[in-house]
């Protein structure tokens, strides 16, 4: 419909879209604003919007209480580690499904997804015992393994849908050109799937970053990520909105910033084969 859109209509849409966009974003905005207020201002009625004494005190308090940087590093290591490990396992699997499909391919894929439906609380105790015996409790390696396994089905599915869009002829061409399976995957398939891979990586990092059940239950101090950091704020004493906001802002800021910077890739890739 390439007909000229009247400026008037465009203006109306603009106002409407911005209103809704801001409404959806508002809780985050409000959290960020509140993190710069004093506790008393934070609960003031009527609410104070911008006109208050901006303070960094809450951030200082939060940092004093727990070592933000260590939690942050743990989050980074765990989410990136599980993503890399996941890719290493998932790329070959997705290759097989996409390019050498068999009658069972879809069943396998669906089965993989169904493993994600297991309620984690139902198997926490067995896993905890297992981890204890393997010495994996409160280790980054342990968490990386768990998060990899949890997100593997999603990674496989996403990669599978991207790989399926790559014409098999190109891989055949590589084969004719004398490429081994390894160089076929490394030199041809992987670079071609970069946009899809990027969005898989992003989504997986987000999911791993925000995973709160296993990360909380399988760690203590050494390898606790930001989810554990925020767990100590769920109900501190006294007035705590501002401190809660500061801690929340610190916990979500890295992933929010990463998400914003890479939203193009994320959006482009987030189709799960939903779009043909």
């Amino acid at each position: 419909m390439a007909r000229t859109v009247t400026t008037q209509r465009k203006l109306v849409t603009t106002v409407f879209a911005w209103a809704i966009g801001i409404a959806i974003f508002f809780p985050i905005l409000w959290t960020i604003l509140t993190s710069f207020k004093s506790e008393a201002v934070a609960i003031a009625d009527p609410p104070v919007w911008f006109n208050f004494d901006w303070t960094l005190e809450n951030y200082a308090t939060v940092q004093e209480r727990s070592n933000y940087f260590r939690h942050f590093m743990n989050s980074v290591i765990i989410s990136v580690g599980s993503t890399v490990l996941g890719l290493i396992i998932a790329v070959p699997a997705a290759w097989s499904m996409a390019f050498v499909p068999s009658k069972r391919t879809k069943d396998i894929l669906m089965w993989m997804l169904s493993t994600k439906m297991l309620p984690p609380v139902g198997v926490l105790v067995p896993i905890y015992l297992l981890f204890r015996n393997l010495g994996l409790l409160d280790t980054q390696v342990g968490l990386i393994i768990v998060l990899t396994l949890i997100n593997l089905p999603i990674i496989v599915w996403m990669l599978y849908t991207y790989f399926k869009e790559i014409p098999g002829e190109i891989l055949e061409a590589a084969r004719m050109d004398g490429a081994t399976l390894r160089s076929e995957i490394i030199h041809v398939l992987t670079p071609m799937a970069i946009p899809g891979m990027a969005s898989t990586v992003l989504l997986n990092i987000i999911l791993a970053w925000n995973e709160a059940f296993w990360t909380l239950n399988l760690t203590a101090a050494k390898s606790a990520p930001l989810t554990a950091f925020i767990a100590s704020y769920s109900s501190p004493e006294g007035l705590f909105y501002a401190k809660l906001s500061a801690a929340s802002t610190m916990a979500i800021a890295p992933i929010l910033i990463m998400g914003w910077f890479s939203q193009k890739q994320l959006v482009r890739g987030l189709t799960f084969g939903a779009v043909k």
């Binding site: 008393a40 209480r65 239950n217 203590a220 101090a221 767990a231 704020y233 109900s235 501190p236």
Partner: protein
């Protein structure tokens, strides 16, 4: 930290005293340069779940755990905790308040060191009380409380006569309600472990509680726990608040509280039957039996619960902020006696008797809890029923009936009754 340094992991609850301790660690490090402490700070429920799971499965993730008076006897009996009977002389075990110390001792072995102890009491707004033309006695009755609540409520200005816990949880609304029920002569179980929610006493307890809250309580009370009520009280929205004695230091702290200079204290109410509606609780530091760093852990526990630590806090933050309720010496300290809530706190603690919490005899220990492993689940499930009643989703009768049924069921399943 040298090559020989040891790192211990300490699990703590996220309350103010514990967090304050994290800021005072320089003192500990100065005394123990070879020990490093890692903190795991969690919200109470999560903490309890995590440490219990860890200690029961011998996960070995923590070297020191913050546990309540509920856990200590159960865990001690199972041999999950290191005995602390070998604390050095300077620690002065005999200085611990007997009521608190008894709760932490199983068959002569002290299994945890109290970090702070608390009971519950009435906190009220002196200005509102005055405006209502009433005067709070030192030991009020429930009927007086109701009268005062009615007099103070001013919904127009968002002032609610009374704030009480409503959030479901054995450590939340059930702590309060169980303590309250004691003063009404109710009990959880009779001597045959038969649940007693079908008793008259429980019906009275719950009805009075609901009437208080529905008529004079703040909106959304069914979601309010300690912290929510604290915030309400600090912002001047509550006329009275019956809750933990530790709250006193927060509500009188001018930095956080807008009513700091208008707070008075009284013993928890009674009904003339003997027991008052107050509880007894302590947060303690225990060392799980599996740890390989016993010495370092002990050194830390000793430091954190010592008299010196109390002095350290007093020096840095003033006497009002020291962890209360564990040592006789603190209450004998003249400087501490100046603290407005010191006397009432001590009296409240002394007024509780975990071994005989209520009018009739019971087969269990614990004022606001029943020291059996099943109680966490039971207490929370019953708490949910009462919370639903408070939210108006079911009637009081219905809530009691449900509570009776589910308790019977669980006790049957656990094998207490046939």
């Amino acid at each position: 930290t040298g090559a020989t340094s040891e790192t211990i992991t300490v699990a703590t609850v996220n309350n103010g005293d514990m967090i304050r301790m994290q800021g005072l660690m320089d003192d500990f490090y100065a005394k123990h340069p070879d020990i490093e402490v890692e903190w795991v700070t969690l919200e109470e429920n999560v903490l309890r779940q995590r440490v219990t799971q860890d200690v029961a499965t011998k996960g070995g993730q923590f070297d020191v755990m913050t546990i309540g008076t509920y856990e200590v006897p159960i865990w001690g009996e199972r041999g999950w905790l290191m005995s602390l009977n070998d604390m050095p002389e300077s620690y002065d075990v005999d200085d611990l308040l007997p009521a608190i110390r008894d709760g932490l001792t199983v068959e002569g072995e002290l299994y945890a060191a109290p970090f702070y102890g608390e009971s519950s009491m009435v906190m009220y707004r002196t200005d509102l009380m005055e405006a209502a033309g009433l005067e709070m006695p030192d030991a009020p009755t429930w009927s007086f409380i109701k009268e005062a609540a009615a007099a103070m409520t001013d919904e127009e200005n968002e002032i609610y006569g009374i704030c009480l816990r409503g959030k479901a949880g054995w450590g939340e609304n059930m702590a309060f309600l169980t303590a309250m029920s004691n003063s009404y002569g109710a009990r959880w179980f009779d001597m045959d472990w038969k649940p007693q929610f079908d008793s008259e006493a429980w019906a009275n307890t719950l009805n009075d509680y609901l009437e208080l809250m529905n008529s004079y309580g703040p909106p959304g009370a069914s979601g309010n726990g300690f912290n929510e009520n604290l915030a309400l009280f600090q912002t001047g929205k509550c006329g009275m608040w019956i809750d933990a004695t530790v709250a006193a230091s927060f509500v009188t702290n001018p930095k956080d509280s807008s009513v700091a200079d208008k707070v008075g204290f009284a013993l928890a109410p009674d009904n003339g039957l003997g027991p008052r509606g107050n509880w007894l609780w302590a947060w303690n530091l225990g060392i799980p039996a599996g740890t390989k760093k016993v010495d370092a852990a002990k050194a830390f526990v000793e430091w954190a619960t010592s008299k010196e630590y109390t002095a350290l806090v007093a020096g840095k933050e003033g006497w009002a902020n020291v962890p209360p309720g564990t040592r006789k010496s603190l209450y004998e300290n003249p400087e501490y006696q100046d603290v407005p809530f010191a006397k009432m706190t001590l009296e409240s603690i002394l007024a509780a008797n975990p071994k005989k919490p209520t009018v009739d005899e019971v087969p269990y220990v614990g004022v606001q809890f029943v020291a059996i492993p099943e109680f966490q689940g039971l207490g929370t499930a019953v708490g949910q029923q009462f919370s639903a009643a408070l939210a108006g989703q079911i009637s009081a009768e219905q809530a009691l009936e449900n509570a009776q049924k589910l308790t019977e069921r669980e006790m049957m399943k656990a094998g207490y009754i046939k």
